[in-house]
Symmetry: C2
Subunit: 604 residues, 2 copies
Amino acid sequence: MAASPYLLLLLLLVHPAAAPASSALPPSQPPPPRPPQKVQVWPKPVTVSWPTAVYAPLAPSFSIRASPSHPSLRHAIAYYSRLIRSERYAPIVPPANYTLSRVPIRLLALSVADPVVPLGPGVDESYTLSVPPNTGSADISSATTWGAIRGLETFSQLSWAGGGPDSGGQPIVPCDIEISDHPLFTHRGILLDTARNYYPVRDILRTIRAMAFNKLNVFHWHITDSQSFPLVLPSVPNLANSGSYSPAMRYTDQDVRRVVRFAEAFGIRVIPEIDMPGEYELTRHTGSWAGAYPEIVTCADKFWAPAAKPALAAEPGTGQLNPLNPKTYRVAQDVLRDLAALFPDPYLHGGADEVNTACWEDDPVVRRFLADGGSHDRLLELFVNATRPFLVHELNRTVVYWEDVLLGPKVSVGQTVLPRDTTVLQTWNNGAENTKRIVAAGYRAIVSSASYYYLDCGHGGWVGNDSRYDVQDKEREGTPLFNDPGGTGGSWCAPFKTWQRIYDYDILHGLTEDEATRVLGGEVALWSEQSDAVVLDARLWPRAAAAAETLWSGNKGANGRKRYANATSRLNEWRYRMVARGIRAEPIQPLWCPLHPRMCHLSE
Amino acid sequence: MAASPYLLLLLLLVHPAAAPASSALPPSQPPPPRPPQKVQVWPKPVTVSWPTAVYAPLAPSFSIRASPSHPSLRHAIAYYSRLIRSERYAPIVPPANYTLSRVPIRLLALSVADPVVPLGPGVDESYTLSVPPNTGSADISSATTWGAIRGLETFSQLSWAGGGPDSGGQPIVPCDIEISDHPLFTHRGILLDTARNYYPVRDILRTIRAMAFNKLNVFHWHITDSQSFPLVLPSVPNLANSGSYSPAMRYTDQDVRRVVRFAEAFGIRVIPEIDMPGEYELTRHTGSWAGAYPEIVTCADKFWAPAAKPALAAEPGTGQLNPLNPKTYRVAQDVLRDLAALFPDPYLHGGADEVNTACWEDDPVVRRFLADGGSHDRLLELFVNATRPFLVHELNRTVVYWEDVLLGPKVSVGQTVLPRDTTVLQTWNNGAENTKRIVAAGYRAIVSSASYYYLDCGHGGWVGNDSRYDVQDKEREGTPLFNDPGGTGGSWCAPFKTWQRIYDYDILHGLTEDEATRVLGGEVALWSEQSDAVVLDARLWPRAAAAAETLWSGNKGANGRKRYANATSRLNEWRYRMVARGIRAEPIQPLWCPLHPRMCHLSE
């Protein structure tokens, strides 16, 4: 991050050397009434016990130690030591009326019961954190390394630059505090589409870092799609040679290992999704393969919505893998084998959404098959049966598919084709309804309903030559609204999903207790038709943080009611802290609002 | 700008030393069919004559000289010399099949007929640019300095890194070319709200630079509003003392002079709008004054939408200047006088939108006035009559007001209160209808209809404690849609206005020839409730560029038909070039689209 003046401004907030450290914003406006002392940790921990408003300073020699030490903790310890020692965050509304203990905190000790438990689905991420009074030390206890890492993030957020005007904003942490914390859901992710537009590795790493700040633990990497194939696979390098946007816009195996390693160091799993035959994005999303293997792709390089035919694809960029060409499966297996070698996670995502029947029918062999009594469902079944078992039995993976493969509506396979114990389904449509259908049928679900969790919605349409925008008079009731309130403005899943919309989503809504046990968690999704690295952070944050809290500790207060009102000021603070940490998150309100708590609510 | 890897990636595009400079993206994908040779200049110049596809290299000693020289040109010459010499832009789809002349261009000569014409409304910005074959020089002729600056920008965009693989991406420009160019509208602006959230000076300067790239020429600085008053005025410093978010979030007179000077050097006018009594944002937007002068503000520091009353403001942050308190006008005159001293432009913006009657009625003196037969209209008239003549006759300004002051609908004044020769009205509502009402009444208009030009629309709502997002089931027809297609998602002016929507807007629609002469031009507006410096560039660009072209050279092709289809690939290129120049503009499509011209259109 360049030292832009805006960052310098934030540094002023963070290093309030000239200003009293107890208030980063000296009252130009009358100070609001002070609420009771709370800690500002996002996501909000499950249990916080802090009976006194006492803080302790961090000693300059502050260090973190794990006993026993373990390689899986080494990066996190180094990272959080640096962060905690150097960060000088000054809140927008700093705490007041607190006592500062004289006993500085020198040591944060990590006790991990079982540090060899590998990262994977369902690992124990719980931790307890305590800062006993007057001992000069703090403790984090956890079952696994991954819980300890969650605890470290919490500790980093407890710290703020409250050491008083003479201390130059020395960091202080609450003492005499006990936190007990664990996630509601074990799968809390972000999907990033790096195929519609490319993202350099550095931007992916920064995203993973921001995920760690928010205790998100799954990076669902939608690496390839119709438009581009940036992944360099050792056995099939010509996919990237032909399919990437340019040589500079690729991910080598070295890049992938770097991402996987960096993510693991923060306790974040990386689940790849590749446009592939069989288990992967086998359907319409494989146009990018046609440069390398034109013979195994149907309807490649055609106009996506020709006037004389049904659309060949849901959006520009045509091409689907041909389930009737045996070569498809030879290439597929090479791709899958390489993929499994690069990505160690037990889960691999097979895509299988939005099969386009017209695209398949563009191929004469497919047409003959259908004329002879075949069906589209049967074609999909051929694909799945030719690749899923290979993935499961030879490569030892659980396969994630999009809901379409089972639910359709257009093309789907039967439940017998998808064993429950090795298949997980990811929702994107029809909100709670489709979640129910999946878990009621006995499958595990990852929830990503577009109505709540698709981050790209509400940004208008992106196809060109679109005359629907060319309306000069006010749209009248009864005519198709498009550009004015009531219209989508071109975005199929409009309107824009605000942080409150995301926060309020109850992914277990309408489920029985038994059904709810099969919901692994959720993922917010950034589809990149109108996003790339230049705008990535603002697209993701802080809205992904809203999902992060709801999936970690829920969206209800102690009284059982939704707590989105309370969350507003906390998310304002968290947004500014993320910006100070180098994540270019967008603002959620005028700065006036956190300075005037509750004055920006819809109702008092 | 930090040398982020993404920027390095773009530098790779821009310095394709290793790659053949004639193609920044070596064909991973089959090269698209080459269109006839065109220049890539945004906004598209009115007339380009380039019969041959010949380029000439720029000499390393390339320089720019004006005769006669003039101080008003000095900065632009220095800036564009540096830019043109150092920029190495490699287009996404580079020209091919061109000839490179051996005669390098050494000199760009500027001939300005009348360099003393000051910057102001309606100045002549026309220019002609020619690069005669084989002379080693280029010429720009213009009536004024401001036209020369427009020509310099055009010349900078003619240049691209096409010098061939051995040249290390040496810049080349078309030669044997003649361009003749002038704007359709003399007022082509951006409104930036720096009150809802603060923007450091550096971000304002970068915005002005980006405006210069796009030949936009008015920076409408909406400096203050209810939520904050960041402007330090010498006679009334306590407005900023009490009203700014913090001491660091202010604009000193030094800051203002810097902005005004920097803008003028690019031929960009700065028109300030301040929440003020009388001519300025006299209405609901003056809550920020209450810290300094509580006695002249009605309904200050109240909850904006109390359950028991009509709303006191259109959004959180209450307070309006009291038209019945004489002190209001003493403060107002101090403010206006200071403002006029800081901002030399002949225009000053007086606000006067969205008067909230309930807020005024919160004051007992106002209530008594109304009970005695007064009206809200009369109150507004008092304000206007007490301040507008001072502005016009003592400070020698033309006053711009929002349309509400004349059109209402709630509170307005009669035409006799607003002389046509010194009053300009700015639209924001009801599209072409309100433009018509204004110009039909004989007033000049600046067009900013929210349905086309409000850049903040479609980003959801920002008020907190908003239960409307908390819907778990699919919204059904017949119920108020909010979160799903058909709903606004919280944004009053949803949906998001795409570049196509903005581009297609015909601001003269429905006007007679005479009426059209009173339309000065248009402004896109960025209201900052959900924007600040972290996201500024993406909010503005490239959508403001779309307006820039339509206001400069229109949105129709030579055949008289709308040219938005053609504009898509040009805007893709222009977006990437702006990013390379340090403006963090958002992408408009997948990169696949410009690589496959016309394949991403809605119809062939």
